[in-house]
Amino acid sequence: MTVLRNNARVLRYAFTSAMADMRATYTWKSWTFAWLARILCQVTLFALIGKLLGSPEQVEYLVVGNSVFIVADIVMMVCATTAWERLAGTLPLLVSCPSTPFVVFAGRSVQWLVDGLACSTVSLLLLAPVLGVSLPLGAALTAVPMIAVISVSVYFFGLTLAGLALRVMKARNLVGRLGSIGLMVLTGVQVPVTFWPVPVQYMSNVLPLTHGLHAVREHLHGAPLPRVLALLSLEVAVGTAWTVIAFFTYRRLVNSGRHDGTIEFGG
């Protein structure tokens, strides 16, 4: 129990620090008029592509897909912010303190979950109608907690990639970008997963977002609850698997760092 309580406290303070980081980056004004506006333009661009294709179904598919993808896109920034620890020189201090690095890192970038969920929600609830996609309000509202589930599973996938980025610092932004564009292409955001050849579909099935987004789409089309929950629990399963992988990634990072002396001190 004390272990749980300790880790919960670490998470809480890491979260507080993460939010303080966020406040240091954005004011309400700059978040709304610069950041959110940019995000909404991203969804709009894809809605326009739907319009270009001349099909209202395409517009709806792209608006829903890209609105939900926003959360993943933003959450993947965990790669960049995790790498900041190494840039700030705090990595050796984290390793040498009695808390598990995985727990610390898991808490340090939580701001993106909040940010991503907020942007996705605004996009789905407010922007979609403007773009001519009318979603049933009740279903759209209940889709928000589903997006929250997606955000968490993507987060642990992102943390795993961030663990890799900590090893190749030069390519830290690249790792994150490739991760998020990869998700955009493969998980049914722009085209259904079944569009791709079967071997690629295998990959889609173990990536976060795939099943969760599927669940959101079905839910918005009025699918029965058990069906939606089944899809959502697949997303949870994938997310859990990535959590375990992330845990071992950080353990290995620390262990191999202690072996080969790559955890630099001071500076």
Binding site: D21, A88, V95, P98, V104, R258, G261, F265, G266
Partner: protein, 314 residues
Amino acid sequence: MTAVEVRHLRRTYTRRKKEPRTALDDLNLVVETGEVHGLLGPNGAGKTTLCKILSTVLLPTSGTARVDGFDVVEQTDEVRRAVGIVFGGERGLYTRLTARQNLLYWSALYRQPTKVGRKRVEELLERLGLQERADEPVETFSRGMKQRLHLARGLVGTPRVLILDEPTVGMDPVAARDFRALVVELRGEGHSILLTTHDMAEAEELCDRVSLMDGGRLIATEDPKTIGSWLSRFERVRAEGVSPELAARLRDLPGVAAVESRGDQIVVEVEEAGATGEALRLLVEAGVTSLATTRPTLEEVYLQAIGDRGLGVR
């Protein structure tokens, strides 16, 4: 119980396409509880490697190291609770967070109950003179303030053993003086401290004992005053245009260790206080006017004092 006990510690780094580099070579070192122990040596002596091993950031290749009685390989969790680290320079802080946010965060990471942690953080802010600006982002702090915050961060987990790795590097003289005063206070409170530095004056001021390291080995552990006296004893006289027979007379002077010629220059190595004056008198009487006296570097003194190698070897 000893604060730090290092036995036959060895650490090598494997390098791509190169011979492995030995950073620590059969190192033995004891830091007694309540002692401020200085670790003095040139860059590359292995000081930081030792600090890394003691703070569980690096594994030894062989040998053992114990901190507060716990083994750094087998009992990492206990070691991590017992030890606090502070290193010099600007890095290691979350610059966009405030000083208080930084400390509260680390207090949670050192597994302190919330109430205890808050109290501890307030104490430290007060004590290190950061109270007034505790809620400002660290990026607005001066170098000296950042370093005090570093120290507060190292103390937040109430460590029994404190490792200070070149904490005053890059500080201005005033900030460094204040920082040293804090270290003196901490010693008074019974913290065991391992302090690495390459500043002899700093070691002399702060440490109960000083260990000299070079090339990954411990050369000696001494009272800092002893080492200070070595420094003032050894001197070196350089002169130009000295005849061979004058050089021979210099060599015969009591207190002169060696006379070497380098091109048209000679170097007289003096190893006793007072002998320098005698050597200079001889040179001036012989009409030599191109003269200079210098003190050897710290590293050269270690070698001269401890080994039987002459100063000219390096």
